[in-house]
């Protein structure tokens, strides 16, 4: 075996990737985890996680990440920083092409996760970092005693808006429907928060400002009325897109680009597995990601046994 050869290569270092690494190493497999930045994934920007069992007080996303990474390293998981450009999945030995080198592996577990979806409206890109943000834990402090706008209605939007209220004077939460999608307990908290003003049935049409955010144009989808809400910050949480730019046509995805698997986490390409947020799953949580990953690593091990 070449030193660039592995039993399993894991793409992505969020909860799914790290869990796959723990299970693969405990199964005695040689495993490499490739992460674009630093292990953690999307939970790194999550202020507080209180629905992951075993932590009754809840914990910061970053702390959970650190614990998972340490656990994976304790079992000897090799982690490198690298940007996966493409996969070659035709033959028995799969090739993972990074920007500076290639590695070979018998199996691949894709756990590359998601990135925040953009609204695609004027001002969103030009004012990014100048009032436009997707990370409340990072940037809320810059808006102490200021008015800010948040956009979205799911768990992330509501949870992060609650975090914003610790700093901002007022938060307008703009949602395109007349009720929130978020979990009931989060809905109750946000709707009873005095700093939050709900802007129902509305979508943002433009983020305005010359050097930094000054206001957001918001359109009521029922009446067609457009109004300008003045605010210095605009936080966007309108869902996620899968990180799959390196996939080839052999790995089938659904209409939204999420990887299709069976209940063994096998994709349409032999020896290629997927786990976590990147998969076409009805729920994207830390708890679902780690479950996927355990199954993926277990089935990858079985697949490797079948090869010999």
């Amino acid at each position: 075996m070449d030193k660039n050869d592995y039993d399993v290569v894991i793409i992505g270092g969020g909860p799914a990737g790290l869990t796959a690494g723990i299970y693969a190493k405990r199964a005695g497999l040689s495993a490499l985890l490739i992460e674009k930045h630093t292990p953690g994934g999307q939970i790194m920007i999550t202020d507080w996680i209180e629905n992951y069992p075993g932590f009754p007080e809840g914990l910061a996303g970053y702390d959970l990440t650190m614990k998972m990474e340490q656990q994976a390293k304790n079992f000897g998981l090799e982690i490198i920083q690298g940007d996966v450009k493409s996969l070659e999945t035709d033959s028995k030995i799969k090739k993972i092409n990074l920007s500076d080198k290639s590695v070979n592996s018998k199996t691949v577990i894709i756990a590359s996760g998601c990135s925040p979806k953009k609204l695609g409206i004027p001002g969103e890109n030009t004012l990014y970092g100048k009032g436009v943000s997707t990370c409340a834990t990072c940037d809320a402090m810059f808006f102490r005693n200021k008015d800010v706008i948040a956009i979205g209605g799911g768990d992330t939007a509501v949870q992060e808006t609650l975090f914003l209220t610790k700093f901002a004077r007022k938060v307008y939460l703009v949602h395109r429907r007349d009720k929130l999608r978020a979990t009931k307990i989060l809905q109750d908290r946000i709707l009873s928060n005095e700093k939050v003003e709900m802007v129902w049935d509305s979508t943002a049409t433009e983020i305005l400002g010359s050097k930094s955010v000054e206001a957001v144009s918001v359109k009521n989808v029922k009446t067609g009325e457009i109004k300008k809400i003045e605010a210095e910050g605009c936080f966007i949480w309108v869902g996620t897109l899968p990180n799959t730019e390196f996939l080839n046509a052999q790995i089938k995805v659904d209409e939204s680009g999420f990887i299709i698997t069976n209940n063994r986490m096998e994709t349409s390409a032999k020896g290629i597995f997927a786990a976590g947020d990147v998969r076409n799953t009805p729920l994207r949580q830390v708890s679902t990601a780690v479950g996927d990953a355990a199954i993926a690593a277990f089935c990858a091990d079985q697949y490797i046994e079948g090869l010999s």
Partner: protein
């Protein structure tokens, strides 16, 4: 942590950054910012490689409120590349090593 990245603040920003003879990269960060901690090892790496040509600094925005205000920073991590005392380019949010290397090469 290596010594390749110098910790700077409001008090010595002018001397260390604006009056620096070499181009300077300043990483604006805070301890509670996950992506800031994620980009830090990349900046450390680059500092080891390019440290002879560029000065690498980091500024904790929590302890130093004046400097980020001056540069209208409203999101972190933000990396600002300074040349001859003025802003040459700026990068907000996570970036890969290759993306940052490209920016660094335009400074040298």
């Amino acid at each position: 942590m290596s010594d390749a990245v110098i910790e700077i603040g409001d008090s010595n920003f002018e001397a260390e950054v604006l009056k620096s003879e070499k181009p300077v990269l300043v990483d604006f960060w805070a301890p509670w910012c996950g992506p800031c901690r994620a980009i830090a090892p990349t900046v450390e790496d680059l500092a080891v490689t390019y440290g002879d040509k560029i000065k690498f600094c980091k500024c904790n925005v929590d302890e130093n409120p004046l400097t980020p205000g001056k540069f209208e920073i409203k999101a972190i991590p933000t990396l600002i590349f300074f040349k001859n005392g003025s802003v040459a380019s700026q990068q907000t949010g996570l970036a890969t090593k290759e993306q940052l290397e490209e920016k660094i090469k335009t400074l040298i």
